[in-house]
Symmetry: C2
């Protein structure tokens, strides 16, 4: 082991370059050559530090996933409002990384470590939203709470999706409206 400073700095540069590229040109445009050019590194150095191209992308996406949650370490339930605002910040703050997140989630069947990360993350978020909803709406049964959490999350993803389709779309206000109206008993 005993890594040198140079290698550590290079690794950081590569991750940053990958993040910027995912933001600017999307997943398809984020080629190995593009990453290496932007990080000012040759292919050999890249593979000295990363297993594969996906390895670098995974780094970035995992960071993005972490960024969507407001207080990851905390056990106390957040309020639904807080959770929704955190999601809005995630989407509007890093739209292109959010697009990558959604794209990867959608990209494939059941395999691939990227897709697995996204799936696990989704489960955690449903649990998180469920906790908040249960706290604020004690009249709902457990199943109803889960259904509501899934619907709210689906709506947020779907609105984000539309926002990516039409840049002028007022995502934040639609998201806030949707979050309140999804809670009534159906």
């Amino acid at each position: 082991m005993a890594r040198y400073q140079a290698g550590i700095r290079t690794e950081a540069r590569i991750v940053e370059a990958t993040r910027e590229l995912l933001g600017k040109v999307g997943l398809d445009g984020t080629t190995l050559k593009a990453i290496c050019d932007r990080a000012d590194v040759r292919a050999g150095s890249f593979y000295n530090l990363f297993e594969s191209k996906d390895d670098a992308v995974l780094h970035v996406v995992k960071d993005a996933i972490r960024a969507v949650d407001p207080h990851p370490a905390q056990d106390a339930p957040d309020s639904l409002k807080e959770l929704v605002e955190a999601y809005i910040s995630f989407i509007t703050g890093q739209p292109e990384v959010a697009r990558v997140y959604l794209k990867i989630a959608m990209s494939g069947a059941t395999n691939g470590s990227l897709a697995n990360s996204v799936r696990r993350h989704h489960e955690r978020r449903v649990a998180r939203f469920s906790l908040a909803i249960a706290g604020e709406h004690p009249e709902l049964t457990d199943d109803e709470v889960t259904a509501r959490a899934e619907i709210i999350l689906a709506t947020l993803s779907g609105l984000a999706f539309i926002w990516m389709l039409k840049p002028g779309f007022d995502f934040p206000s639609r998201a806030r409206l949707a979050a309140t109206s999804s809670l009534v008993k159906g």
Copy 2:
């Protein structure tokens, strides 16, 4: 022009092969070679009938888009229930083509004829849903109606998205529940 029967049959075989491939292996797996192998055609024949690979994919996606609408030619407004059921049928009936539809919608910035088709189709659907909602809820203003239409469509897309992530997810019942609860005044 004066096309021969052989060419017409070959074209149909290519479209069908493309549709099946999009369903089985997704957009990335639908390569020219795969299409030609499945349609039992050589590359030269393919390009005698189609401008490009995207041209063939576009054929399939446009068919899928048409399939999502219950009565495309009709002017009378459908009921919201009908529209939601049509969407459910679309997603559960041709899940992999639906995935392609969502994927293409999400895939990129503002260019590409595929992305444009999807965008235009989304606008038409919002109009369609708005009409239904306005008919059933006269107490809502125009802006509120549009907002509700966009939210319902977003929720349906988002739920479809989750369903693709977790095959066991009960998409139809969630979709029906969501459609009713999204209509209250917020």
